[in-house]
């Protein structure tokens, strides 16, 4: 915990002066507040009891001045500490964001976006609260305790001892009762998030709940979780009822005791009324830093937990890192070779790819076919180094991809992913994502090729239509076509389409492959999928089975010699091609999936 906290303090390094000023401000304000009871004492003893009217107004003037001064000091502290803490939070967020952009795909496979969001928002806020409030307040609380104790002891030994005795009692109560609340709150939070989880599932899964007529059993499930939460809440209420009134009453008992002993002393003429009033005022000032310390300790624990989660990100290993002497090639031809490539994902002992060796020649089109889970996507992900192979070498034009500059490598490869992610913004902005300087003509040209121009033109503002969160919602097929256009626009030497036409109907898909023909002649293209038009167009088909290359050859060759291939593509037994009517010329395409 200590090392985590010292690491946090590094982030306020740039704000040292302001932090110091904040500390000075709060100490100055505290000293002014501590001086006020002394003025009050003079007012009572010399002014009221001594009958000195001028002294009454002089003291009143002093009290006002002290109030103005401590008010200004507190404001200065608030403002300065806000500058330090929000400045540090800014720095932390900036550093996290920079790191997030460097982390590899494997990292994002493991973590959930929601968690990362929490770290950048609430965890940073926890740390910020500690920097802005907890840290300086703790220092000033300790200072305040020491000064108050010294003043009390110098005023009257016996009353001071009574007043100071509230410290161990308060600490004992904090230790016995309040410390127990921490775990209780944690369990309450867990139950609460379970309850909210059920609630959320019932919203996103509302159709399933209704079709299975599970409303009643879901309501029961929710009621049980709700009851658990209520039990936990009531238990916390009991603990709070036992702890806090007692904690606050310790101060009141102190006041009663001081009033009693003080009154006796007044009768014996060893204490003045002003001193008694000052003592009770100090008692309040003594309790305040104690609560602050208790509160601060909690805040430190929470801040260090938050900081640990933040540092988890900042310290995360970047799996796919650029080597120091990474190179760029003068020109990329687009020949791809896999040599004995094996792939394991982190935290999974299974080999996803098992010793793959093959090559894809420059400017050819290769189709990758295989059943669900055979490793097709894993294979192509190695080319732009989304992941690195566990063993073996993936090379472009004979250069191991790990020796190339990452930006350079990825700029020459365009991947259209299975699930197209678009950004909120206009259609134009999305298509030109990889090449922001592209002209409208260029954007339209690729949109036409991707069969997207038609529907984009039909949108209310055409290419300027906003899509995403606050804009138009596009269908899966429309999103796929925009993401294809986006890939085409960067004019890559290697184009990879990972099942990226699954939501398109066959007619659109055939038109797409036809329009891409010229483009495919001039670059290396890899297509994952089993659409007939793409397979027929491919120079070579790689059949992947269980992480291995089961066969390679042209579509026709594989169809004739490989049963598995035919099986993957073909209709189930029983649907016989010769049943097709003769006017329908589907030679070579019979019975394949649409």
């Amino acid at each position: 915990m200590v090392s985590t906290l010292t690491r946090i303090i590094r982030f306020i390094h740039g704000y040292r002066t302001i932090a110091l000023l904040a500390l000075i401000a709060i100490v100055a304000g505290t000293v002014a507040e501590l001086y006020a009871p002394q003025v009050l004492r003079t007012l009572i003893d010399d002014g009221i009891i001594g009958g000195d009217r001028d002294q009454i107004w002089r003291s009143a003037g002093w009290l006002t001045a002290l109030a103005v001064f401590s008010g200004l000091a507190r404001f200065a502290y608030g403002y300065l500490s806000a500058r330090v803490s929000h400045g540090a939070a800014f720095g932390l967020r900036k550093e996290i964001f920079a790191k997030l952009q460097k982390l590899s795909f494997s990292y994002y496979d493991r973590v959930q976006t929601g968690q990362l969001m929490t770290r950048v928002t609430s965890d940073v806020d926890l740390v910020r609260d500690f920097i802005g409030g907890g840290m300086v307040q703790m220092i000033s609380a300790v200072l305040m305790l020491v000064i108050t104790a010294a003043i009390l002891l110098s005023m009257n030994l016996w009353l001071a001892l009574i007043a100071l005795s509230v410290i161990p009692v308060t600490l004992l109560i904090l230790l016995l009762f309040v410390s127990r609340l921490g775990p209780m709150f944690k369990s309450f939070q867990e139950r609460l998030s379970r309850l909210n989880g059920i609630f959320g599932e019932n919203i996103s899964g509302v159709r399933i709940v209704r079709t299975f007529t599970a409303e009643d059993s879901e309501t029961d499930r929710y009621r049980r979780a709700n009851q658990d939460l209520l039990d936990s809440g009531l238990a916390i209420r009991n603990s709070i009822a036992n702890a806090f009134p007692l904690l606050f009453s310790v101060g009141s008992f102190g006041v009663v005791l001081i009033t009693w002993v003080g009154a006796v002393m007044i009768v014996k003429r060893t204490l003045s009324v002003g001193e008694l009033v000052a003592f009770t005022s100090y008692l309040v000032l003594l309790l305040q830093p104690l609560f602050m310390l208790g509160f601060g300790a909690q805040q430190i624990a929470r801040a260090s937990a938050g900081a640990e989660r933040i540092f988890e990100i900042l310290d995360a290993k970047i799996d796919v890192a650029e080597v120091d002497d990474a190179i760029v090639l003068p020109e990329v031809q687009g020949r791809i070779t896999f040599e004995d490539v094996t792939l394991q994902y982190p935290g999974d002992a299974r080999d996803i790819l098992k010793g793959l060796t093959f090559s894809i020649e420059t400017k050819t089109t290769v189709a990758v076919v295989g059943s669900t889970g055979s490793g097709k996507t894993s294979l192509v992900n190695l080319i732009p180094r989304y992941y690195d192979p566990s063993e073996g070498v993936v090379a472009i034009d004979g250069h191991d991809v790990r020796t190339l500059k990452l930006d350079f490598l990825r700029r020459h490869i365009a991947m259209v992913m299975q699930d197209p992610v678009l950004f909120s913004g206009t259609v134009s902005e999305n298509i030109s994502y990889g090449r922001p300087e592209a002209t409208q003509d260029q954007i339209e040209a690729v949109a036409r090729m991707a069969q997207a121009h038609g529907f984009i033109s039909a949108l209310s503002k055409g290419y300027m239509t906003h899509i995403g969160e606050r804009g138009v919602t596009l269908s899966g097929g429309q999103r796929q076509r925009i993401s294809i256009a986006r890939a085409l626009l960067v004019d890559p030497k290697i184009l990879i389409m990972d099942d990226s036409t699954s939501a398109l109907d066959s007619r659109t898909e055939s038109a797409l492959i036809e329009d891409l023909d010229d483009l495919m002649r001039t670059r290396t293209t890899i297509i994952i999928g089993q659409r007939p038009s793409a397979l027929a167009r491919a120079d070579k088909v790689l059949l992947i089975e269980d992480g291995r290359i089961a066969d390679e050859g042209t579509h026709q060759e594989l169809l004739e010699r490989n049963c598995t291939y035919a099986e993957i593509l073909a209709t189930p037994p029983g649907a016989v091609p010769h049943e097709l009517p003769s006017f329908c010329d589907m030679s070579g395409l019979e019975g394949r999936d649409a």
Partner: protein
């Protein structure tokens, strides 16, 4: 002097609510608490006790001081102090007990009330029509609902008690002050308008700056969320870093807005403290003059120091809690919006329970359009015989999925009739209807939990062996091997992420286990490869030899398996027949099949 432990200092309200609705919502909210009458009455009694003790303590201390001064000047009889000191001790103990008791009783009522409110909201969810969840405004409401309930919760379990407590302390203190000395009481209260004016001005300014801050942090989160959603795309286009500048700008804007807001709020507390201190100084000065003239005793002045402190502390508490109260009211408003939302069609009182139907299904002249949208289905009529498998075919957007939604009563037709075994489904009790239907959609929803948990959704009593064999039937050994802990594999939030294909397979298995009489599949196998699909069909054939099925699919292989094909174009039935018949007829369908556009 006035001071607060950290975190209890005054805060400024951020949300504002229209007064009339606020009043209605508060009354409704209080109504939930009032159900627990015994607790509420006890809490009120104890609140009165504790505010009375708060009012009594300063007067007693003042009395003790006066006695001490009198004794010091005269006889020096210490016994005269005993009774007031003992009384002071008793009052302090009473105050402690009273506080403890209010926390218990009001906490009880508040938390139980919230339990009921939560349960009502949940029950409400399932009486709303599915359409409600699919509208954008409702989506927004839902996403905020959880937070809203939380805000109401923290107010009901803590804030409410402190608010009422502080208000009662203010009233009790004012009464006590007027009893002890009218002149000094008036001097103390002179500060009140200044405090209220300050709170009003700060409230206005800070609402603005805090809203700006909320927008600023919202902007940071929004950019981050989008960046994270598209991080793989950004990296694949070598564009990570492109958004750094935008992020820096938003991050800096958030920092500046936050500093601004903090500056405003850190001025508020010292300003309040200053006003109350000046008021206390006036009490000291004026009280001192009165005491010096012998009009009042020293004890009265001392008592007023404590009254002033207590009074201003309570006022500042109220201003703190005011913000919380406003948020709770705003939150409750959204909760009540949901509770008051119109429910979906309710079954008629004489609804018929559907039990083991033969499975014939018919649409006759069904018309339908979504709320505020164009008409989707036009005079759709068709019949499905018991045990028959019918494929619905047509281009995207033709209205196929809508037809399935109408069968499961997710929506109700505008006109026309849908019948099962000749019985209008409007007259069938919805739960009994849905029990005989097995629906699998394109993007099936699985609950977090184990695979087995998800399959038991179909039927509680299913054995592990049944689950195992069903999964094997549907997905083959490949599916089971892909699950690290077999059927006990955790999926969703805390478990592994399944591919679209795996999800579909599990959803299909879930429906198989529920043994429906009528099966509705909406592209339920779109994400699995052909070989696996063939396997699924074998499994389905085995399970559904004599069951009615309506299937929407884009694959020719699937469509060809159907006994009959119904072609939908622009919301109308344009053709129907067997595959062979349609091909021979050479109509719209044959063109679709030839081009493989289905």
């Amino acid at each position: 002097m006035m001071a607060h432990p950290p975190g209890v200092g005054p805060q400024i309200p951020v949300e504002s609510v229209a007064a009339s609705t606020a009043y209605k919502n508060v009354r409704r909210l209080i109504g939930y608490v009032l159900t627990y009458r015994r607790n509420v009455i006890l809490a009120v009694v104890w609140l009165l006790v504790s505010s009375a003790t708060a009012a009594a303590v300063p007067a007693l201390i003042g009395y003790v001081v006066d006695q001490a001064v009198k004794q010091a000047a005269g006889a020096g009889d210490l016994n005269a102090l005993n009774i007031p000191v003992a009384l002071l001790a008793v009052v302090t103990i009473a105050g402690w007990f009273a506080q403890r008791a209010q926390i218990i009783h009001l906490g009880d009522a508040g938390q139980r009330a919230l339990f009921v409110l939560r349960q009502e909201v949940f029950a409400r969810l399932h009486s709303l029509p599915v359409a409600y969840f699919e509208s954008a405004a409702a989506g927004d409401l839902m996403s905020r609902l959880v937070n809203d309930i939380e805000t109401v919760n923290s107010f009901m379990s803590q804030g409410l008690r402190r608010l009422i407590g502080s208000m009662l302390v203010v009233v009790a203190t004012i009464i006590a002050m007027f009893i002890v000395d009218v002149r000094l009481a008036i001097v103390t209260l002179l500060a009140l308008p200044f405090i209220m004016a300050t709170a009003w001005v700060f409230g206005k300014v800070s609402r603005r700056v805090f809203r700006q801050r909320q927008v600023a942090i919202g902007n940071v989160s929004a950019l981050l969320a989008e960046e994270l959603a598209g991080i793989k795309v950004a990296q694949s286009f070598a564009r990570s870093g492109a958004s750094s500048e935008a992020f820096d700008a938003r991050n800096a804007a958030n920092r500046d807005a936050s500093i601004h807001a903090s500056a405003i709020s850190s001025a508020f507390e010292p300003a309040l403290t200053l006003i109350s201190t000046i008021a206390t100084v006036f009490v000291a000065g004026y009280g001192g003059m009165l005491a010096a003239e012998g009009v009042v005793t020293v004890g009265v002045v001392v008592a007023f120091f404590n009254y002033a402190r207590q009074f201003f502390n309570a006022i500042s508490q109220i201003s703190t809690l005011w913000g919380e109260t406003q948020s709770a009211i705003a939150g409750s408003e959204r909760v009540f919006t949901l509770l008051d939302a119109e429910t979906g069609a309710i079954d008629p009182p004489d609804a018929i329970e559907l039990d083991a139907p033969l499975g014939s299904l018919a649409f006759s002249k069904v018309n339908f359009g979504y709320a505020d949208g164009p008409q989707v289905l036009f005079d759709v009529s068709f019949q499905v015989l018991p045990g028959e498998t019918v494929a619905l075919v047509g281009v995207t957007g033709a209205g196929k999925s809508t037809i399935l939604d109408l069968i499961s009563k997710m929506y109700a037709p505008a006109s026309g009739e849908i019948t099962i075994d000749g019985l209008d489904i409007a007259r069938i009790a919805t739960p009994s209807l849905r029990r005989v239907l097995g629906v699998v959609g394109q993007e099936p929803f699985l609950f977090s939990g184990t695979v087995a948990d998800n399959l038991r959704y179909a039927r509680r009593s299913i054995t592990d062996a049944e689950i195992h064999s069903t999964l094997l039937d549907v997905g083959g050994p490949v599916l089971l091997e892909s699950l690290p802990d077999g059927i006990d594999t955790q999926i969703g939030e805390r478990g592994i992420t399944l591919s679209g294909g795996q999800r579909q397979l599990i959803a299909l298995a879930r429906v198989l286990l529920s043994e429906p009489a009528i099966l509705l599949l909406d592209e339920a196998t779109s994400a699995v490869d052909s070989r696996t699909e063939a396997q699924i069909h074998t499994a389905l054939d085995k399970a559904f030899t004599k069951r009615t099925a309506i299937v929407i699919a884009h694959r020719l292989s699937t469509v060809k398996r159907a006994d009959r094909i119904i072609v939908i174009e622009d919301g109308r039935v344009v053709e129907s027949g067997t595959y062979q018949e349609l091909m021979t007829a050479g109509g719209f369908a044959s063109k679709l099949f030839c081009a493989q556009i289905i």
